[in-house]
């Protein structure tokens, strides 16, 4: 039945007289492709802030821990969830939290999906994630979701802190997408995050934090 319908639809499309495909004009090389690493970092940070995020460069692990503590203190955050991605694991945030008065949990702490969902929606005040890439073209964080990059951590809490290794800043989406989809790999989900959750649906009054984070912070790690 379904096959018949599929067949019928495709047959109708195939039976139609087709026109030649128009030639594509030559696109100029993106500006970002001419930038060096330092310029890319500058552009990423500028764009990230232009999109409504807050960005701090941090020189090393120690500086990152200090900055994180300062942010959480200012926001009054005492409970956070961190993913287990390869950027965060070496930072040992659980231990950092014990010293800084922040209880840091991770998705594997929960025996089942239900417990995790409950926690990420209702119990934690902030989500901390690494990134796979950050695109300078629009100040966009690019996250490939998998067992170490749970989807809801960067989404459900009101604050999202992303740790961005400077080496992962690329010029355009294309570089990131090529790397993520290389050799037939297809991540189940890739998110592009550009600024906080936003809406202007009531009387065109813009406000942040409609469904996702109200604040988004990037710590750019040298």
């Amino acid at each position: 039945m379904t096959d018949q319908i599929r067949h019928r639809i495709l047959q109708r499309l195939q039976g139609a007289e087709r026109k030649n495909v128009a030639a594509r004009p030559a696109l100029p090389t993106p500006r970002e492709n001419h930038l060096d690493a330092a310029q890319l970092k500058d552009q990423f940070m500028a764009q990230f802030e232009a999109q409504g995020g807050t960005c701090y460069p941090v020189a090393d692990r120690g500086a990152l821990h200090d900055r994180l503590a300062a942010i959480f203190q200012a926001e009054g955050i005492t409970r956070a969830m961190a993913t287990t991605d390869d950027v965060l694991l070496p930072l040992d945030l659980v231990r950092w939290g014990q010293h800084s008065g922040v209880s840091v949990v991770m998705p594997p702490d929960y025996p089942d999906r239900r417990g995790f969902t409950q926690a990420v929606f209702d119990e934690v005040q902030a989500g901390i994630t690494g990134v796979d890439f950050a695109a300078a073209e629009s100040g966009t964080l690019i996250l490939a979701h998998n067992r170490n990059q749970a989807r809801l951590v960067s989404l459900a809490p009101l604050v999202h802190v992303a740790i961005v290794p400077a080496t992962r800043i690329v010029g355009t989406y294309d570089t990131a997408i090529q790397a993520l989809f290389t050799n037939g790999r297809r991540p189940s989900q890739v998110s592009f995050i550009t600024g906080p959750s936003m809406t202007a649906d009531i009387q065109a009054t813009m406000f942040k934090g409609m469904h996702g984070p109200q604040k988004i912070v990037a710590l750019v790690l040298e």
Binding site: A16, V21, L27, Q189, T199, G209
Partner: protein
């Protein structure tokens, strides 16, 4: 969704008299259009980027059957389930059945024009399943039972007092407020409960990538991401023209779409889904269902001209450019798609029977065509529809012309075939028409062409024709 396009004039008249709508229309389209224009300047070469996007859509549509099959194969390889739906009933039936089988009591939805087109909420309600729209604007229009006013902001025109009242009535807020932010935050809290315990989410699709079987959504609020992350079952409904060849093409179209729709370099959230969650992921859907919807599109595809309407990427830029939309707003268009976008899509999908006024509500100013990132020539399509309507085209359900009009045309062609007869009849017609003059204008002619006089006067006809004056001048000169 019921089509109310046949009431175009009536609704337009109401909206023209609605002070609130008018105040809003003076600001919103202009603001969005200027944002779009300045966002385009961030392209190294805006004109080439514009034309490149149009070429991507052209190729997507010309190669549609092939690309759809490649997309399907890849989506299935990724672990998605693909269902082809010939019409709304089939698509709604599949989704309702799925919800029933899973035993869910409610579903949530991301903003999606295609599910408006399906009338999915009504179908789910009939099966006893509650639907919650989760885009703030859609949430408000759903509670108020209104159609979307603008594709980007479905409830932008609704006065805040009305939102306060409906939120109070539906228990979204306890204490009255007219602060947009407080109202938005109340909706966040209300819908968050729904997301947390969600079993089944439904979204539309902005783009489907053939080479990887990936579906892409663009948004600003995060409700689509929640729909795609929290529940065990995810249904993505795509009309069959959404496919693009490659990921690189999709990246370009995303840049063009976001700039055209809201003047942003990128929407806050863009998600690319290739199959359901993997077995060891803690969140994401265990089942990803992709519904590929035809609903009249493969029929519209038969004609290379109507096929052009399928290029549309639903950015809404044409609404902001349109002088007619800028006066009447989104309601008169009477279906899921408003503005020039709706004027080319609705007749292609619904036929001309109910959409006669739609194809005429256009001044042929060409602003929509110039701004369209998909390369649609709206004015020429509208002229084509008018032609098809007048000749009574069967496939499109054109209504043809009445006997009186046909009679007049026959008369004119007979009269025009002989110059003496023509001059004689012109003389008689002038005298006859001038009997109804008042001053230098003719306001109406009893039993005459009412259509003409409904919106214009006729200048009283001069005593002498051009030829008579010419002959007179010749005489004088000689």
């Amino acid at each position: 969704m019921n089509i109310t396009t046949e009431r175009f004039k009536e609704t337009a008249r109401q909206e023209l008299a609605n002070a609130h709508t008018q105040k809003f229309l003076q600001i919103l389209p202009l603001r969005l259009a200027s944002r779009r224009d300045s966002a385009y300047q961030s392209f190294p070469d805006p004109e080439t980027a514009h034309r490149y996007g149009q070429a991507v859509r052209d190729e997507s549509i010309q190669r549609l059957p092939e690309l759809l099959q490649v997309f399907e194969t890849n989506a299935i390889t990724n672990g998605a389930r693909v269902f082809w739906a010939e019409d709304s009933r089939a698509a709604n039936g599949y989704i309702v059945e799925l919800a029933k089988r899973q035993g869910v009591s409610y579903v949530t939805k991301g903003k999606s024009m295609v599910t408006e087109e399906l009338g999915l909420n009504e179908a789910l309600a009939q099966a006893g399943i509650e639907t919650w729209e989760t885009d703030l604007g859609e949430f408000i229009t759903q509670l108020l039972q209104r159609p979307p006013f603008h594709i980007v902001g479905p409830a932008l025109n609704i006065p805040v007092e009305q939102i306060r009242d409906i939120f109070l009535q539906k228990g979204v807020i306890d204490t009255p407020t007219t602060d947009p932010v407080a109202l938005g935050m109340a909706a966040r809290r209300f819908l968050r409960e729904k997301f947390r315990d969600l079993q089944m989410g439904i979204t539309g699709v902005n783009m489907a990538v053939a080479e990887t079987g990936t579906v892409i959504n663009v948004e600003n609020e995060g409700n689509i991401r929640l729909n795609k992350s929290s529940p065990r079952i995810l249904v993505c409904v795509m009309s069959l023209e959404k496919v693009v060849p490659t990921l690189a093409d999709a990246m370009h179209m995303l840049r063009v779409l976001c700039r055209s729709a809201t003047g942003q370099a990128a929407g806050a959230y863009i998600t690319l889904d290739s199959g359901p969650k993997r077995s060891d992921d803690i969140d994401g859907p265990e089942e990803l269902h992709i519904v590929i919807l035809d609903n009249g599109r493969s029929a519209a595809y038969q004609d290379p001209k109507t096929r052009e309407a399928l290029r549309c990427i639903r950015c809404g830029a044409c609404l902001n450019a349109c002088p007619v939309y800028g006066k009447v707003g989104g309601y008169p268009y009477g279906w899921a798609y408003s503005g020039p976008m709706g004027q080319v899509l609705t007749p292609a999908l619904q036929g001309l029977g109910k959409t006669g006024d739609l194809i005429r509500a256009c001044t042929l100013c060409h602003r929509c065509k110039i701004i369209c990132p998909a390369g649609i020539d709206h004015p020429s399509l509208l002229l084509y529809y008018r032609y098809k309507d007048v000749v009574g085209d069967r496939a499109l359900g054109g209504s043809g012309t009445g006997w009186r009009e046909r009679f007049v045309h026959t008369l004119l062609s007979v009269a025009g075939s002989d110059h003496r007869l023509w001059r004689l009849l012109a003389k008689i017609a002038r005298l006859a028409a001038n009997r109804f003059r008042s001053g230098d204008r003719i306001h109406s002619i009893p039993n005459g062409p009412r259509g003409w006089f409904s919106s214009r006067d006729l200048r009283a006809l001069p005593a002498k024709t051009f030829r008579e004056r010419w002959a007179q001048m010749d005489q004088k000169r000689n």
